[in-house]
């Protein structure tokens, strides 16, 4: 059996026995799907029952200028407000590939350190690249699959519960590039940062807290998006993906340097 796949399967077996990580990984996507569709659905229902009040709320957000932009051509202020909100939710979907692999990577490596399993593992004929790849894939695969599955469920629910305009936004290049390109790249960032942090820290919670700072830029960016000050475009997501890919290469280089047999046994704390 392929050694990388052996490591992946072993990691999943171990993680599946940790109810905390398992439930967090499953509940987060459900929460984000529920928040996205629920918020849009109930806002639309409220607006349908009282259109004047909805328009007033939207007008308070100074959306008039946005109405002049081609992205929002033909949309009323309320729909523009919903679109801004939906795009903000997109960032939540990008939290999944940042958080889930971080949990898995941190748990996996600190778990190995705490159980002192690294030395016998490193004494086998596995290469450190196979070991590192296995550990990374164990985090990247579920994070990517859960992100894509959450997106799929969101699209399905949006088709039945929201308007064609909202569905169109969710199927725009911004969403598609984010989900299918940026999300896997972010999961690689998260897992690599998890590996780097885990090499210096022996406490899972501390490592998770340190790794948690990775989501701060993403959370910070939601504010200007919600206020209509920053409009996401396909080009912007493509550029962001390129930047993250370059960051991943740099982080992977550091990760590979740290993940050498000798370094692990003599320098890791």
């Amino acid at each position: 059996m392929n050694k990388i796949w052996l490591i992946v399967r072993k990691e999943w077996r171990e993680v599946s026995r940790d109810k905390m990580i398992l439930w967090t990984s499953l509940l987060l996507p459900l929460l984000f799907v529920g928040m996205t569709i629920g918020t849009v659905y109930f806002m639309q229902r409220t607006a349908a029952s009282n259109p004047a009040a909805a328009m007033d709320d939207a007008s308070e957000m100074n959306i008039d200028q946005l109405m002049l932009l081609p992205e929002f051509a033909g949309m009323d202020p309320f729909t523009i407000m919903i679109v801004l909100l939906v795009n903000q939710f997109l960032l939540y979907y990008l939290l999944l590939p940042l958080m889930i692999p971080m949990f898995v990577a941190v748990y996996s490596i600190i778990g190995e350190k705490q159980q002192r399993t690294l030395e016998p593992l490193l004494a086998t004929p596995i290469s450190v690249i196979e070991l590192l790849t296995g550990k990374m894939l164990a985090g990247v695969i579920p994070a990517t699959v859960l992100t894509w599955a959450s997106y799929g469920v969101t699209i399905l629910l949006a088709y039945f519960l929201t308007t064609p305009e909202i569905l169109r936004v969710m199927l725009s290049p911004v969403w598609l590039l984010s989900i299918f390109l940026l999300a896997p790249l972010l999961s690689v960032t998260a897992v690599t940062v998890g590996v780097i942090i885990s090499s210096r820290v022996n406490d899972v919670r501390l490592a998770e807290q340190l790794g948690g700072t990775l989501v701060l830029p993403l959370v910070a960016i939601t504010i200007p998006i919600m206020m209509g000050k920053l409009l996401m475009s396909g080009e912007m997501i493509a550029l962001a993906s390129l930047a993250v890919a370059l960051l991943d290469v740099a982080l992977l280089y550091v990760g590979v340097q740290l993940f050498q047999r000798e370094t692990i046994l003599t320098r890791w704390k």
């Binding site: 052996l6 026995r17 940790d18 690294l118 030395e119 004929p125 003599t266």
Partner: protein, 308 residues
């Protein structure tokens, strides 16, 4: 089977400072031999095992395991070597079977299921093979770790403190199992602080304290340090008896303590009858004649003291 020449390892814990963990170690361990590595904490035993397992690289010198060069044929060496680390290092949330099957697959064992069952059976763990390891006793964990080290049928086995922290019964089980492995003809390098264990199991012993202090069989080491002495208890010892014994060939010296004589000599088997005959001729009433032995612990402590 294992040969080291000038094997040295230095560490640099801080910039500018260097610690020599192993200094010019020369060893030659034969196929099928159980070789003990004794030394105080920090003597370089674990570092030696790590170098021979291709886990860390030597700073200088060379080592060969099963004819393969450390630093060049590392992957090949890892295939023929089994390692039992100081702590069992098991995946505690996984069951015993999964732990072993994972390693069997990593070592590309052909019939994983059969091999895992064989070792779990042999070590009396098959009845609990589907239980998470976290619920196992220390002895059971150690047995499982030994099974893991053997799962790929290695020619060479490194055992680092195999009975440390085990209760006497579990320690005996592990020692008995190591003796069985000796019968199978595996080469075993045993790092231990337990001198009784080393004496019982090892064909030869190396005393290490960064440098190699001594290497030989336990009995030869004893002889080298303390020589051989006969102890004779008489009803009464006279000065003539002491002088007469001292004058015998192959006797190096005689000490008297009350009614006992301690006689240093080369070959007790040949000299003792002569001593007995002479003492009887002088009217000595002999109550007991024994060869005085020193424990391996005394020998070890003496060697370590000499090295200081």
């Amino acid at each position: 089977m294992i040969v080291t020449k000038g094997l040295t390892r230095q560490f640099s814990p801080r910039r500018g400072s260097e610690i020599v963990a192993v200094d010019h170690l020369n060893l030659e361990i034969q196929r099928g031999e159980i070789f003990g590595l004794l030394g105080p904490n920090g003597a370089g035993k674990t570092t030696t095992v790590r170098m021979l397992s291709c886990l860390i690289a030597p700073s200088s010198g060379e080592a060969h395991v099963g004819g393969q060069a450390v630093g060049q044929d590392d992957r090949q060496i890892r295939r023929i070597v089994g390692l039992l680390t100081e702590s069992p290092g098991l995946y505690e949330k996984l069951d015993a079977y999964t732990n072993l099957a994972f390693y069997a697959n990593l070592y590309e064992v052909q019939d994983v299921e059969r091999q895992v069952k064989r070792y779990l059976d042999m070590l009396g763990l098959w009845g609990r093979h589907r239980e998470p390891v976290v619920g196992f006793s220390k002895g059971m964990k150690q047995k499982l770790a030994i099974a893991r080290a053997l799962i790929h049928e290695p020619q060479v086995l490194y055992l680092d403190e195999p009975t440390a922290a085990l209760d006497p019964e579990a320690a005996k089980t592990v020692r008995d199992f190591v003796e069985e492995l000796k019968v199978e003809g595996r080469t075993i390098l045993l790092c231990t602080h337990n001198l009784d264990e080393a004496e019982r199991l090892c064909d030869r012993i190396a005393v290490l304290k960064t440098r190699l202090i001594a290497v030989d069989t336990p009995s030869n080491l004893r002889r080298r340090i303390f020589g051989r002495r006969a102890q004779v208890r008489l009803r009464q010892v006279t000065p003539e008896m002491v002088d007469a014994v001292r004058a015998l060939p192959s006797v190096h010296g005689v000490e008297q303590a009350d009614s006992q004589l301690y006689i240093s000599l080369d070959d007790p088997d040949a000299a003792t009858p002569l001593i007995v005959r002479r003492l009887v001729e002088l009217g000595g009433e002999i109550q007991q004649v024994t060869e005085q032995t020193h424990s391996l612990e005394e020998t070890y402590l003496s060697l370590i003291k000499e090295a200081q």
